[in-house]
Symmetry: C2
Subunit: 475 residues, 2 copies
Amino acid sequence: MISVILAGGSGERFWPLSRESHPKQLLNIAGEKTLIQQTVERLLPLTPIDRIYIITNEQHAFQTLSQLAPYGFKPDHLIAEPVGRNTAPAVALAAELFQDQPDEIMAVFPADHVVSDPDAFHDTLLQAEDAAKENYLVTLGIKPTRPETGYGYILKGGDLENLANAFKVGQFTEKPDRATAEHFLKQRKFYWNCGIFAWKVSAIRQELQRHAPEVIEPLAGIEQHLQNAKGKFPYRVFDAKGKKIFGSLPSISIDYAVMEPSQNAAVVPTSMPWNDVGAWSALDDISKIDSEGNVLSKDVYQVDCTGTLVKADGRVIGAVGLKDMIVVDTPDALLICPKDRAQDVKQLVEELKNKKRPETKLHATVQKPWGSYTTLDEREGYLLKRIEVLPGESLSLQSHKHRVEHWLVVAGKAEVECDNKKMILKARESTVIPKGAKHRLANPGKKLLILIETQLGNILDENDIKRYTDLYGRA
Amino acid sequence: MISVILAGGSGERFWPLSRESHPKQLLNIAGEKTLIQQTVERLLPLTPIDRIYIITNEQHAFQTLSQLAPYGFKPDHLIAEPVGRNTAPAVALAAELFQDQPDEIMAVFPADHVVSDPDAFHDTLLQAEDAAKENYLVTLGIKPTRPETGYGYILKGGDLENLANAFKVGQFTEKPDRATAEHFLKQRKFYWNCGIFAWKVSAIRQELQRHAPEVIEPLAGIEQHLQNAKGKFPYRVFDAKGKKIFGSLPSISIDYAVMEPSQNAAVVPTSMPWNDVGAWSALDDISKIDSEGNVLSKDVYQVDCTGTLVKADGRVIGAVGLKDMIVVDTPDALLICPKDRAQDVKQLVEELKNKKRPETKLHATVQKPWGSYTTLDEREGYLLKRIEVLPGESLSLQSHKHRVEHWLVVAGKAEVECDNKKMILKARESTVIPKGAKHRLANPGKKLLILIETQLGNILDENDIKRYTDLYGRA
């Protein structure tokens, strides 16, 4: 079985923890591991790591690879989409790439859901694999536990020959009203559509060709437009032509494009505990709740709060008399919202985007292939950053037109190249990078390098950078 | 008339904007000016600045003087209490200090209330002065506008001869229940006790002697135990004996100690708009409210909020669907509380104090007589601060046992003395202060000096400081 993880989420509903540069699947909101790490761990007993592929947006490639490096995930098993086009084009792309293995079962998983019973998950997937071997397009159907109006429902149809726990798919109903959802729940013939699928490569290609030729036909021969990214992380990336082709595909879900019209769809019902973690309010179901219904981080102090989620991030938070509220604090942005309005965080983020607030794009700490930087202070004439460089990593050889940089090592060891001269700086040592000097910062040590950078000048702008050479193909 | 401003508030109810080191009267929560600045400005048309005195806690002396410097307030008109002992000992102290002017009218004002009609305030005070000249102990009575249960009420008694708008004081009722407050409101004979008084020095001394000898008798000859503080800000401070005497006084209010038992008390009723700014919810009455009842700072974005106060401080805040909430953000602490629980912020602060959270004492930016410092980042091995030194000011000559300091000037000009060598550092220049070196930082320029200090060492503690000489008497 080949596993394809679709990691296309933007995760606006988890702002301010999620940002454009840091969507939901990269967050550890449901345990110590991030959602994409949990997704990979859940698959490993069924699929070795070298049979796992990920399709994600190009801007998330480095972080995804860095989160999955501990599992031995291969960089060239990550395929970078230039733009998000919903699930049908992503599935079609994977199917095209595996077309030389037509009988292989390909399973598709969202990167950002929670399944808390791995054994039930594995049993269900093996049943789905059996049905896929019989040429069905198989979708997993989660047994509903409440009349949820935010999910899609699948009606169970007739039995399938030789398959104990797989059924024809009846109608799909997207987000029913409350009364309908209650009716579905009582009928016990409806299942939640969880976005997990299994099918033969040949079967999905055939059904895409039949029901959504506009999605799959432009992808004929697409492999020749995919190449390994330059530099240290050779994930798969489109060339200009490939980007144009992919970008021209319609944005459409695989459910709508194929599963609904197909005569060949099957559903494997399961009662495995599943959560799509669709909004902050979903954390109630997957977090450890105290006797008052609260989920409170360290550094949160409360008086008479109930049913409240408070996520702190270093600062002390005092909460008095809150009831069913969500408070999420980050170094540069804060959210306060009642639980029953959690879906409307999306609307807030739209407003912030309209106002061009940078807090929708980046975190105060910006992840880079070589480590991260954090803006600590900014006033007229200077900008102060903490720069952390991972062992063995290196920033690009670069220069700045408008600023002087003052570097002070506070932990670890730095190799500094400046206008062709190299030096080693240890903790407590500093140097100055003049305007226009070609310079590079690297960590030649085995421990994290932490450096305080003070940028000085009248124009202090991330775009004031000229890159000459770069380990990560960004020059 | 001599005006005495009692600035003893701890202002726990305004956490996290108020801290032990930064109580309510020093906050600008009711306009651009701080409450104590507004209090002084309100008095200036009646009392020249050199007839205004302030009694406040010693730890607030520098900040109070710095806020009042623009008005020409004299440092030796500030009397520093070693500990807070409520209003009776402070009033008795002032009365003792002015005992050589027995016929002088002394008026007493809280430092942290809001009066939004200065003309009405002046008219009322002149009436109070007239009554005080007749040897009455005069209290101002505010005409109630709502059945407030949080205030004390004064019953208006009989007329006083020759005084048009002053009456005998009937009974005092502290914080009545709702029904009683409504009854008082209807009766139109009850007034709010606002803590503003006027009396002859001789009159208050006599009544203190009669009704609270335990408060005034120990203060006989107290002036000889008051001296000017050493250094640049010669406010009045007790010597060790004086501290002991003052500290041994009972903690009691002047209302309870004198006004209630006195046969000589008068009330001057007024309908001037008055607010004791007792909790965050009080800001509704003194702030500019939008059409939805919200008071929102810059950098606050909201969806469907009503009746909500959000104070931001640099970070972006997203508020969705909040109703009658209070959100107060500061760089190191955050409060969320419904308006009808605003009084319970005090309880939260008690909890934080029990847990020894430093956020109850200091702000992230700590005010100093020479300027301020702000902690920007702190990890094992280093601590990063922004230090701001006012023109002409200077830190103490000091040394540290456990840390090296790296100084980088980012704005202004620094004079650095290090082991008897002096140098001038301009913006972009840096130096290192070795462990144990006797050093001093000063601003010899006319603009603000901003310096980035990186402390490096295994022990990084504010207490690792030895002071040799100091402009402000702290050595």
